[in-house]
């Protein structure tokens, strides 16, 4: 992929310099060439040269396609599988076991084992989105009525960013997610412990329940089971608030709770600016504390 790009980049620079140089020469030269010579310039420079170069380039790129996107059957054993659903304007992420059953759900964050191909099942709950982790590879659209599949391979541990690449409405801009590529043992350990319990802050949790947050949000291990909005289990470990809108700090969480549409125009979450500041701060602190 990178090779393809650099071949094209250098080739394009040379061709551009050649064409513009020739144009410049043709405009400034003193002599005139015969029509036969000029005709040959068209034949060789305009027709035959591009035809040959493009044929080679096309062959290389087409050969590359199945290598860049190799296909794994959906029922291959030992396959890492993650299901991602695009929603306005966040990402629902489900980790699947080998039979395709959901292990657990999370949101706006994806963890991957380094060195193993992961197959994503991509769907949408509303409009067309496009799932893209620039560092790991190309994008794939999420289209109503279809399930698209994409397999990606993270080669180095690290934290990457993913975005929605297809315009999906007012806050298309604010629809990102974080990708955490981990060593496989750490990943497996995380998978195993991920079905954790709720936080330690009983009062924060009570406020969360009292204000109806659980109508939309789930926190595993507690009595919050809402499914409309993003799952908030272990929220404190996430890379961001509001699908990449803000950094994950207690202040930002509180700001988001009070006025989600200010941070993220068009967000479907109702605002909670009418609550006392102390309460929203407390809920924010509770969420930040979920590990």
């Amino acid at each position: 992929m990178a090779t393809l790009f650099f071949i094209m980049l250098i080739g394009a620079a040379l061709i551009w310099a050649g064409v513009v140089g020739l144009l410049f020469y043709a405009a400034r030269k003193r002599r005139t060439y015969s029509e036969q010579v000029a005709g040959k310039v068209i034949l060789w420079g305009g027709a035959l040269f591009p035809a040959v170069v493009l044929a080679a380039l096309l062959s290389y790129a087409v050969w590359l396609m199945p290598n860049v996107r190799p296909w794994f059957g959906t029922d291959d054993p030992g396959l890492r599988r993650i299901e991602v659903t695009g929603e306005q304007f966040w990402w629902r992420v489900r980790y699947l076991d080998q039979d395709g059953a959901a292990l657990f759900e999370t949101a706006n964050e994806i963890r991957l084992p380094v060195g193993e191909r992961v197959t994503f099942s991509l769907t949408t709950a509303d409009v067309i989105h496009s799932f893209w982790i620039p560092v790991l590879g190309g994008k794939m659209d999420m289209i109503p009525g279809r399930t698209n599949r994409l397999s990606l391979l993270a080669e180095k541990p690290g934290t990457y960013r993913g975005v929605c690449a297809e315009f999906c409405g007012t806050s298309h801009t604010m629809m990102a997610f974080t990708v955490e590529a981990m060593d496989p043992p750490a990943y497996d350990a995380w998978l195993a412990t991920r079905q954790s319990t709720g936080g330690q802050d009983a009062e924060g949790h009570a406020l969360f329940m009292k204000n109806g947050c659980s109508a939309c949000h789930t926190i595993a291990g507690t009595d919050a089971h809402g499914v409309i909005g993003p799952d908030l289990t272990a929220f404190g470990t996430r890379g961001s608030v509001g699908a990449g809108s803000l950094g994950n700090t207690a202040d930002n969480i509180a700001r988001f709770i009070r006025e989600p549409a200010k941070v993220k125009p068009g967000a479907l979450m109702p605002h909670y600016a009418m609550l006392p500041v102390a309460e929203t701060d407390r809920i924010a602190g509770y969420l930040k504390g979920l590990q």
Binding site: E35, G39, A47, A51, A55, M65, P66, R69
Partner: protein, 127 residues
């Protein structure tokens, strides 16, 4: 030869013969693969059979383009007269048509060859 090669005809439309062959070839390839991959029709085919079938279609298309090119070459007087073909005569106009048609046949030939390249490298319906 004379018995089945058509006589020269006076029309603008012959100019478009080779590109039309390209278009038909393109539509056949696209539709065949789209229907095959979506429906697995016809059921007796596997993907390799489909590729071979499309190679045959490609050869047929190339043959038609070569025929069009030959007719154009004839209209161009087998290269008897070089461009620019700008005399105010019927002959010059016919030579121009022949030469332009020949060039278009060349382009269409290349375009059909390009369209066949994916058949070499891609062996599955995978997305």
């Amino acid at each position: 030869m004379k018995s089945f090669i058509p006589r020269e005809i006076e029309t603008l439309w012959t100019l478009f013969t080779a590109p039309v062959v390209w278009a038909l070839h393109f539509v056949i390839c696209y539709a065949a693969v789209a229907i095959f991959c979506a429906k697995r029709l016809p059921a007796s085919f596997d993907f390799d059979t489909m590729r071979i079938a499309l190679f045959v279609v490609t050869l047929a298309a190339l043959a038609m383009i070569v025929l069009a090119a030959w007719l154009a070459w004839r209209q161009w007087g087998f290269g008897a007269d070089d461009p620019p073909h700008d005399e105010p005569t019927k002959d010059s106009r016919a030579l121009f048509q022949g030469f332009a048609t020949l060039l278009l046949s060349g382009l269409s030939f290349m375009a059909v060859v390009y369209a066949a390249i994916p058949l070499i490298f891609i062996a599955e319906c995978q997305p």
